[in-house]
């Protein structure tokens, strides 16, 4: 199981999508933070995060998601979280973040 993180960026007419595969932890999260924040600041559209291949996240990554949501709200945009694996979704529920994000 790779502990790396791959981020694929997709820019649509009125949305942006980041497709994550691998693990978001204290080591890989800096890259994610930069990409997420940049795409929100520079593109200012709704952001979709594809999590079908996201195998691991902890409070480091969750904190980045929260920071990104705050940023998106500044532009009146939303963040949609897609295809969470069960063990990852559990962390969103434990922390109450499932009420903060739009989770598909």
């Amino acid at each position: 199981m790779s502990s790396e993180l791959k981020i694929h960026e997709e820019l649509g007419e009125d949305y942006a999508r980041l497709i994550l595969s691998g693990e978001v932890d204290i080591y890989t999260s800096q890259n994610l933070k930069e990409k997420m924040y940049n795409i929100i600041d520079n593109y200012q559209k709704d952001l979709h995060i594809g999590c079908a291949e996201l195998n691991y996240i902890d409070s480091t990554g969750l904190g980045i998601f929260v920071g990104a949501l705050k940023k998106a709200k500044q532009y009146n945009r939303n963040i949609y979280i897609e295809n969470l694996k069960d063990n990852i979704r559990k962390l969103f529920v434990i922390t109450g973040l499932d009420k903060l994000f739009i989770i598909n």
């Binding site: 199981m1 502990s3 204290i26 691991y56 902890d58 063990n87 434990i94």
Partner: protein, 130 residues
């Protein structure tokens, strides 16, 4: 909690890129004990949350911290020791709330220790089918 049987120790550098090693190690041990996949994922997160805190709490990347995995008759106990580095790594800040609440939700027991070589102990009981 059952009697201690086997201890495995892992000493790691205070570097973020090696927290994944702690996760892999505990998943191997938890698998050996017989925890199911969902529980193993929970234990990995709990261990990483503590490692994250230790690494963020250190001022330099030099120095080490130690994780001791005690394989018990009825589960797994995990102890964290950062006396091998010149850092203050006690869990007494409000910033720790998110990480601590995650650990408390995922593990069966969490003890924050002071004035010991070990700063934190957590454990998970193996639930056996009856």
């Amino acid at each position: 909690m059952g009697n201690e049987q086997t201890a495995i120790e892992l000493t790691l550098p205070l570097r973020a890129e090696y927290v994944s090693v702690a996760r892999l190690t505990v998943s191997g041990i938890a698998n050996r004990i017989g925890f199911d996949i969902e529980t193993i994922e929970d234990i990995k997160v709990a261990v990483a949350e503590v490692c994250n805190k230790i690494i963020r709490g250190s001022n330099s990347k030099e120095g080490k911290y130690k994780i001791t995995f005690n394989i018990l008759t009825d589960g797994l106990e995990i102890l964290f020791d950062c006396s091998g580095s010149n850092i203050n790594c006690l869990f007494d800040s409000d910033d720790d709330i998110l990480g601590i609440s995650i650990i408390e939700a995922l593990m069966d027991e969490l003890k924050i220790l002071k004035n010991e070589p070990y700063i934190l102990a957590m454990s998970k009981i193996l639930e056996r089918d009856r």
